[in-house]
């Protein structure tokens, strides 16, 4: 099974010392591991269609891998590259898109740069502006929260064109491009800042001039990927906490034997399993969307439910995990603090759980006709 092979690989190559070494590196990414993933495991190619050298599998497979990567806090830009693959699949009739998908499958990293998120994650948050010039286009502005940090060979940039959104390819080393890492509270998940100052791209680098309709679906599919990491993060917080309280002895017995502790652990498991049920549902809906068999309202709903549930689960489990660890929970030495920071950064990324619930509330309460179950 895929899950077992992922778990086996990561437990060997992405243990706590490896994660901490990557945290201390400039890029914040375990570059050797990422290379090994791209050559030996081929996870970067899961969603790349077979005709472009990919595996042509579905979101479900990506979710299985990302759940384990969340469990191990693996600092590798799989979600970032997969976001780009999803975006490129929407413009696959463009020759450049074919080339880029092919590059992705061969292990080149293309990061998706779409928003400055002040405070909007959707099209309203797009601050880069594209202006058409005789030689092609000029791009100006910045995008933040890029999920690969400042690692990427190329960027897939969403930019405003009047009232529409365009999609462009920008090389990371191009003139006028400043691509840096934002210092972040969560040390295991680097975030990139892209600043474009009059960057000139030619006409072929414009993949779409009216791409806005696809952004929401790419973001919802991204939310499902985030949900996978959150479920993994919640599971690891539970596992590490149970393991700690089973060894810690106070008042002559392990603290795992106290109901106050057991009931907290049970509540953590309830949240993990609930979020996992929604995760695998959402992954199925995601795959149906990719095969264009599910209406996009289903995807919107599934992603919002998952983001709310998995976001809360990860934060609850990591936070409760610190409490169950007692004093050592707030030390740098134990990993539970890393999960806590990861849970926090992921719940805010692409919209807080309460914002996702508001999306659902609007579906349930604001439409003209009464909602149908």
């Amino acid at each position: 099974m895929l899950r077992d092979s992922v778990e086996g690989f990561l437990s060997e190559h992405s243990d706590s010392p490896a994660v901490r070494a990557a945290m201390a590196s400039n890029s914040g990414i375990d570059e050797r591991l990422w290379e090994k993933i791209c050559t030996d495991m081929y996870w970067q190619a899961i969603l790349v269609p077979e005709e472009f050298g990919g595996l042509g599998l579905g979101l479900l497979e990506v979710v299985i891998v990302l759940e384990q990567m969340g469990r191990f806090l693996t600092p590798a830009p799989l979600a970032a590259g997969t976001q780009s693959a999803l975006a490129l699949r929407t413009v696959v009739d463009q020759p450049l898109a074919k080339t880029m998908l092919d590059d992705l499958a061969r292990g080149q990293l293309v990061a998706f740069a779409h928003t400055a998120a002040r405070p909007h994650w959707d099209g309203q948050g797009v601050e880069i502006v594209a202006t058409e010039v005789p030689s092609g286009w000029t791009l100006q502005g910045e995008a933040r929260f890029i999920a690969s940090g400042n690692s990427a060979d190329a960027l897939l940039v969403v930019a405003q064109i009047d009232n529409k959104l365009g999609l462009f390819r920008v090389a990371a080393n191009q003139a006028g491009v400043a691509f840096s890492r934002m210092p972040t509270m969560d040390q295991t998940r680097p975030m990139g800042l892209l600043q474009l100052s009059g960057v000139a791209v030619n006409g072929e680098d414009c993949l779409a001039t009216d791409w806005g309709q696809h952004l929401e679906a790419v973001l919802d599919l991204s939310r499902i990927m985030v949900g996978a990491e959150q479920v993994g993060c919640a599971q690891a917080s539970l596992d590490q906490s149970v393991s700690y309280v089973s060894e810690r002895v106070q008042f002559g017995r392990t603290i795992a034997s106290y109901q106050a502790i057991k009931h907290k652990a049970a509540d953590m498991m309830l949240k993990v399993e609930s979020a996992r049920s929604l995760l695998y549902y959402a992954a199925c809906v995601g795959d149906e969307t990719l095969m264009a068999t599910a209406p996009s309202a289903d995807l919107r709903e599934a992603a919002a439910m998952l983001a709310s549930s998995a976001g809360d689960a990860a934060f609850f489990c990591a936070g409760t995990g610190i409490q169950l660890h007692g004093g050592v929970g707030i030390t740098e030495e134990y990993d539970i603090q890393l999960y806590f920071k990861r849970a926090r950064s992921m719940e805010a990324y692409l919209g807080r759980p309460d914002e996702q619930r508001e999306v659902l509330a609007a579906m349930l309460l604001d439409g003209d006709d009464c909602h149908a179950a």
Binding site: S257, K262, A266, D267, E273, L278, R357, L360, A361
Partner: protein, 397 residues
């Protein structure tokens, strides 16, 4: 996770739904949506007649083997039946204890003569059963039962003495299965027997328990030298605990999707009111309604995971959290209903104490987190069995 059923299963769904449409009509229209949890005391005669109608149509005990009158229905088909039954507004089943608990227990542990004596009556919807487990001193700790069974060698019958409690539909039932102590020198799980006892006899007295809703669907049942034939112990004296626990394992979650359909109608009602009375514009209420929606969908996908799990009957992780999940969700829904109704929630349909549907929901859902294993016991079970944490220390009983 299977999001959809197969074509053959969907065809089965059509059969169920057609039959229910044709039969849950006429005189039976009045009992649609009635007699569920919190409402079990109503329309009992009509529901008995309905049980017989179901039996005639071949829709009782569909999960039983064909040899005993069942359809040998798969788990998926049983789920579909329950789903369609709920969708059609099928009334609370007076025969459900017999069908889902007594029957499977006898099929697994009963003697040939016990099967022949009792299974046909259940299958025909004619003989109703109730459950004799909990006692005033044996709630969460079921193994503390003190009801005792003594074999009278001269008459070859067991004499049962003690008190059971929380017995639904006791006064309507023909039989009760009783967990009682056969070896008074033993404590806890040891020395128990599992008995099939007729209700209609001088040694059995029933007293209804009035609940906070003003209605009474639970009873206390007193046994005072009640008689039970020596043929009517299931298994051997001393095996009662094993049989009682096996019985709890027969609940494979086939009714969960049907239950969720009822929950959905309650949530829909709350959403309708929120849209009408303006509370649906309140941001805090909006968050809670969205949470309720997510929670109900989570129950659904939990169930689908549960059903696609292994066939070995062992409880998997999602099955272990299910009771805690739905009971907490449902209890919160009751409070949400009251908050959406606001001050109107206080006004009854009629004096002296006629509760509306949502008022009943609010009050009766306080029981959900208690019966069938309290939330605290559920958390112990999760911590001990799923997470491998130490078992609770036991005091002297």
């Amino acid at each position: 996770m299977q999001l959809r059923f197969t074509e053959a299963d969907e065809q089965f769904r059509g059969e169920v739904s057609d039959w229910l449409t044709d039969n849950l009509a006429g005189d039976f229209s009045s009992i649609r949506h009635r007699g569920g949890p919190g409402d079990e005391h109503v329309y009992v005669e009509e529901r008995k007649a309905w049980e017989a109608r179901l039996a005639e149509g071949g829709w009782t005990c569909i999960g039983w083997p064909e040899d005993w009158g069942g359809k040998g229905a798969t788990i998926e088909q049983q789920v579909i039946f329950n789903e369609e039954y709920a969708r059609a507004g099928g009334p609370g089943r007076v025969g459900h204890i017999g069908e889902t608990l007594t029957g499977p227990t006898l099929l697994a542990f009963g003697s040939e003569s016990q099967k022949q004596r009792y299974l046909p009556g259940i299958r025909a919807g004619k003989e109703l059963w109730c459950q004799g487990y909990s006692e005033p001193g044996a709630g969460s700790d079921l193994s503390a039962v003190r009801t005792r069974a003594v074999l009278d060698e001269s008459t070859q019958s067991w004499r049962i003495t003690g008190q059971k409690v929380w017995t639904s539909l006791a006064h309507e039932s023909d039989f009760v299965f009783v967990l009682a102590r056969t070896d008074l020198a033993e404590k806890g799980h040891k020395g128990l027997g599992f008995f099939l006892v007729p209700m209609n006899q001088p040694g059995v007295t029933i007293r209804p328990i009035t609940q906070l809703t003003g209605t009474a669907e639970f009873n206390e049942v007193f046994f005072d030298d009640a008689l039970c034939s020596s043929d009517d112990i299931v298994g051997e004296p001393g095996q009662g605990w094993k049989i009682a626990m096996g019985l709890l394992g027969f609940e494979r979650g086939v009714s969960t999707l049907g239950q969720q359909m009822l929950f959905q109608t309650e949530l829909d009602e709350i959403i309708r009111i929120a849209r009408e009375n303006g509370t649906g514009k309140n941001p805090a209420i909006r968050q809670r309604i969205a949470e309720a929606h997510i929670g109900l969908r989570t129950l659904r996908y939990n169930s689908l995971r549960m059903l696609s799990g292994g066939d070995d009957g062992s409880l998997n992780r999602e099955a272990m959290i299910y009771k805690l999940c739905w009971s907490s969700w449902h209890r919160n829904l009751g409070k949400l209903a009251m908050d959406v109704l606001g001050p109107e929630a206080e006004i009854l349909e009629a004096a002296p104490y006629s509760l509306g549907r949502l008022q009943s929901l609010f009050l009766f859902t306080r029981a959900d987190t208690i019966y069938g294993g309290t939330n605290q016991i559920q958390r112990n079970i999760i911590a001990e069995r799923a997470l491998g944490m130490p078992r609770e220390p036991r005091g002297e009983s």
